[in-house]
Symmetry: C2
Subunit: 236 residues, 2 copies
């Protein structure tokens, strides 16, 4: 699941598929994988988000990280419904983040869908490693961000693929899963990341400015405050 | 996995999401689910197949079955590559179907991706049942058609979803998994299905006529021969 030792069978860098949303978590997770020696293949899914600025951020980040390939896949989840992120339901603001309920921004089975796409691309690339920036602490309560889910996906991957049948093991790396948002930011700053490239808000204005009140904005602000550094997005 | 008893908590028909490709397997699987009392919600994924006739067949079948909803999702898997079905690699013809290797028509992680989408829609619809026409006998050797894969997906579904966290169990019904192609056809004919509506060929001509030589055509022809009935597609 997480913290696998990296072993090399040759001098070729190992290929990893990294899910790249444009937010600070996926940027940091990708940078950690790169620092561990992986050659990155970024996968961005256009899933009918309300805002194109998330995709533009993913492109900036992929470019800044010098990824090998950046694959963008169009997948319109609006027909599925069930989420404030893919429908006209208002995104909740000023929510009590200590509440235990799963919020309306939950997209049904989103990480299952994203990991399935990453698995397909990984198998086609002959890669065995997938990186996802999920976080089980400051994570809004989504079920598909938990270690048990990631472990179940790894088990599935072995049974689901030609490579798995032939003996390969797919690993889903979750370098952020046990970190607070502040720890994620500190780790990224240590790696020299420029968080001005990222986009976090669920419900930005037409010009792309963050709303400052959705869960994602609130968690981001809390993270920068606890890390003791200013958010470069707010300095512009 | 398969053969779950159907229990009802009310007089409302239970909703099921059915993966609907346009082939005879998904048509028969859907019809069996309907005969067991499910109200059908058909999901067709446009995944960059070589031929639009498969999608037209899915629409005809959905209409013939009187589905509640038919959701078509565009998902371009051509960028992922790795398969003769989503690339310009030739579809193999006249292959030895007793060979144990997995053929080039295998689409990496396809059923994982399709079941993930079905799971998302099922959760949004408040449905707990997913139907897929996979078959572990006359199936071309794909890993994601086996019972162990289906069981692993059910385990994942419980961990992956808000509904699962809240105690729901998702079931993936595979009514064809242990049937020969001939048995599938006989079961469908007993249910009054019109297989002239379906499309099976991996590599049809421009007018939509089957090639008669790809795995899918060969398995279909063998199935009708063993069932002792003519294929209505060949009578037209």
């Amino acid at each position: 699941m997480t913290n696998y030792p990296i072993t090399r069978s040759s001098d070729q860098p190992m290929q990893a598929v990294v899910l790249m949303s444009g937010g600070l978590d996926s940027y940091t997770a990708a940078a950690i994988a790169r620092s561990e020696g992986f050659s990155l293949n970024a996968l961005t899914v256009h899933y009918g988000q309300r805002h194109a600025c998330e995709i533009e951020a993913a492109r900036r980040i992929a470019s800044a990280l010098g990824v090998q390939k950046h694959l963008e896949i169009g997948l319109d989840l609006r027909g599925i419904g069930g989420s404030a992120l893919t429908s006209d339901t208002p995104v909740p603001r000023d929510r009590d983040l200590s509440a235990v309920d799963i919020p309306s921004t939950y997209v049904p089975a989103r990480n299952t869908i994203f990991l399935a796409l990453a698995l397909g691309w990984a198998e086609a690339l002959d890669a065995r490693d997938i990186v996802i920036g999920v976080n089980a602490l400051d994570y809004s309560g989504y079920p598909d961000c938990r270690p048990a889910f990631i472990g179940a996906f790894e088990s599935l991957a072995r049974l689901a693929t030609k490579a798995g049948v032939e003996g390969a093991t797919f690993r889903v790396h979750t370098p952020l899963i046990a970190l607070t948002k502040a720890a994620i930011i500190r780790r990224g700053l240590d790696l020299g990341l420029d968080y001005a490239l990222t986009h976090s808000c669920y419900d930005p204005t037409a010009s792309g400015a963050p709303c400052d009140r959705c869960d994602s904005c609130v968690l981001r602000a809390k993270g920068f405050a606890e890390a003791g550094v200013p958010d470069p997005l707010l300095l512009r």
